[in-house]
Amino acid sequence: MTTPTRDRDTAADTARAGQADSAAQTSPGDAKDGGRRAKRAVRAARMADAASGGLKVLLVKIIALGLIDALALYSILVLVQSAQWIPALIVLAVTGYANWIYFSRGHLPAKYLIPGLVFLFVFQIFAAGYTGYVAFTNYGTGHNADKDSAINSLMLSAQERVPDSPAYDLTIVEQLGEYSFLVTGPDGNVAIGGDERPLEPVANAEMSGGQAVAVPGHTTLGFADIVANQQVIADMAVPLSDDPNDGALRTPDGSSAYVYLSKLVYDEQADTMTDTRTGVVYSDIGTGAFVAEDGTELRPGWQIWVGFDNFVRAFAEESIRAPFFSVLAWTFVFAFFSVATTFVMGLFLAVVFNDPRMKSKKYYRLIMILPYAFPGFLSALVWAGMMNQEFGFINVVLLGGADIPWLTNEWLAKVSILLVNLWLGFPYMFLISTGALQAIPGELEEAARVDGASAWQVFRSIKLPLLFVAVAPLLIASFAYNFNNFSLIYMLTGGGPRDATASVNVGATDILITMVYKVAFVGSTADYGLASAFSIIIFLLVGTISVIAFRRTKALEELN
């Protein structure tokens, strides 16, 4: 600590130091000395940073942070404008924190960690947490918004023109790609409004023949534009006021608007919807939709917290439980056999090729790793073509016109999947087995052979156990990977053949992850809640298995 250079070394804050003597600053017994030393350290750090070409770095820093701040400011403004207070606050806090970190001295680890952590938090940790949240809601087709939007859209969809209602003179105007109705009422009042934006009076409209035809800041649409965007304009409904029961203006022709009233009336006090034509009363009984006494629901409903309902459905509701359990069982069978078959074949080949007398091993190896290098989703599609029942190469050429339903019979499809997976996966297992075999010292074998052990005994009792120790973590990782091997299943069989008795869209070869995808994104209905619940179940299964297995192999001890 005497020469200036050494001093400057510790000068950098504790974080940068990374060496033992920085402990002096934190140890309590040394507090006074440490305090003085810290002060000197800070001063020296400043000198050091100034000496190391600080100006240019500072400039880059200011420009980069300036850009980020500008973006953040812009997004805060947009968020505030759309009344998203919490995200706005989060953006503000994160940007403020980042500025503080990068302009303060010290906090060196944070400077290097923040960029990655921001993405990690938003798209992985938050997404995982949000999956958990969605799993406890009824989010999905028919329940995708809050109650107010559901009420609005119910009433909009049930609108009918009020008989003999007066016509409003209409001009359609556009601003930033959004259309608005500029209307002149029967009483001569001019107002403007748009989809879900109730009418507001306009004072400075340009009039022509008693009709408002333009308003500053907006572009008036010509006839051709109206024709070109007919559908959008016909779908618009401009509420007369904030109360949806007042009705809305719609236009059949683009030149006059009429008052449309919903045949559904919302009673705020009683929290019920009444169909004015049939007189049926629909009430909110806590299921996330208005339900009549006979059990018919009005769609759309809204999103509510349903507790463990989705999990209970997965395990208890007959039409979901049966397919769910068969998918679950097949997922385990598939993951287990895909690891077992590829490993056995890979190991066998490794043993075969691990003979020093054998020549041109290089070329065999080059060809053998091609399946591993070929993109997996393409392999599955190519195999799907070759295994086609009517036209595929395997049936038509290899088997001379046989009619084997490789992908459409429940059991054969499962066998086919394992076969294709074997093709995809054995090179990897071959590579790691070769590596592990070559790492086993030859003396072990020699000693055993001297003691009279046969080749098989040597392999069985010496090599295999040693090999397992080495590759066990990789086998576990491979199991976890295959547990979620989406593209193989989805591209090869699409999960088919379809199970016709199930109420969810699953087939005989679906594994859990493809089931999640289908429940959420394939077909006309989406059940995000149920899909997320399945995701959570997968996570719990894979997590538990991995932890138990890793504990056993003690692989975790090697960390740190």
Binding site: R8, D9, A12, A15, R16, A17, L79, S82, P109, K111, L113, G116, L117, F119, L120, F123, Q124, A127, T131, Y133, V134, V352, D355, P356, R357, Y364, I367, M368, P371, A373, F374, P375, F377, L378, L381, V382, G385, M386, N388, F391, W423, L431, I432, A436, G442, E445, E446, W456, A470, N484, F486, M491, V516, Y517, F521, Y528, A531, S535, E558, N560
Partner: protein
């Protein structure tokens, strides 16, 4: 020479009564003139296995290559291997109006490269701080990264979709149906396994190098960007390559987030293409598949020594 050396160690791994003394005999004979029967029992059958496996491994690839050279071919006509040789399927990939193959290719390259570059940068920054600095929460951070990996992004596909819908309502440029948005989602997985790989490699670079630079007056940023990054270039290349290959064949998130055909990637586009008209345009699909595979396969083969080295190092550790 290498062979004769190892031969003395007599690694006989399977069947047959051949023992150590046999090997000595072979070496003594100088020229490997074994009787055929013995040759076959010891090594010949291995070549038979090798040929069988090589056929199994390469056959689907030959099949798809042959199908791609058979213009206008269906699934059925593709069965005549190498009966036609014509590159017009490749040309029609880029001229067809029904599927924007060129756009898919460019999208895949751009998304893959940007994601790979971002992943390398973010991962290296984090690995540097974990490797070179000691701070509270360091160990916790490393463990957390490992735990977070247990919930892969694919499992959160619903949540990511809903999140992107919500973002898209406010910022269409980075929300649903945006490639920038997809890249950002991929970067969410940039830390994790990659950081671990790099962290291990960073640890092998002696820290006396940074200390020397520090004494010479270099700031931490300069040390990181001009010294460390150069020394760890091999691992940066491997992580970038793995990330590129992984991203360019990723299907689930890309299919959920990218909606317009012109914005999609090869994985999504080719799947839609083949599921729409399965057996009709098989040769065009095959040509698309061959072109899509060329880059990853070439990269893989060029760098196979490093990748294989990484795999085996991982297994033997």
């Amino acid at each position: 020479m290498r062979e004769s050396q190892t031969e003395t160690r007599s690694v006989v791994t399977s069947g047959g009564p051949g023992g150590t003394h046999d090997d000595a005999g072979v070496r003594g004979a100088a020229a490997p003139r074994r009787p055929f029967k013995r040759y076959f029992r010891e090594t010949g059958w291995r070549h038979l296995v090798g040929i069988a496996v090589a056929a199994f491994a390469i056959f689907p690839l030959l099949y798809v290559f042959s199908a791609s050279l058979n213009p206008g071919g269906t699934l059925l006509t593709a069965n005549g291997l190498f009966r036609n040789l014509d590159f017009s399927s490749y040309a029609s990939l880029f001229t067809s109006e029904r599927h924007p193959y060129g756009a898919w290719y460019v999208n895949t390259l751009v998304i893959g490269l940007v994601t790979a570059a971002g992943t390398v940068l973010l991962g290296a920054l984090a690995a540097y701080s974990f490797s070179r600095m000691r701070f509270t929460g360091r160990r916790f951070g490393l463990t957390t990264l490992l735990v977070v990996q247990m919930f892969p992004q694919m499992l959160a596909m619903v949540a990511i979709f809903l999140l992107m819908v919500a973002i898209g309502d406010i910022f269409p440029a980075i929300g649903l149906n945006s490639q920038i948005g997809l890249i950002m989602v991929y970067l969410g997985g940039a830390l994790g396994v990659n950081t671990y790989l790099m962290y291990g490699f960073f640890n092998t670079v002696p820290s006396s190098i940074d200390e020397a630079a520090k004494i010479d007056g270099a700031g931490h940023a300069r040390i990181f960007f001009t010294i460390i990054l150069r020394l760890v270039a091999p691992i940066l290349a491997v992580v970038g390559l793995l990330s590129f290959i992984g991203t360019s064949s990723e299907f689930v998130l890309a299919s959920v987030i990218l909606i317009d055909p012109e914005k999609q990637t090869l994985a999504v586009g080719l799947y839609k293409f083949i599921s729409d008209e399965f057996s009709k345009n098989w040769s065009i699909f095959a040509a698309g598949a061959v072109l899509a595979a060329i880059l990853p396969v070439a990269l893989f083969l060029a760098l196979q020594r490093y990748i294989v080295g990484g795999l085996t190092a991982g297994s033997v550790k």
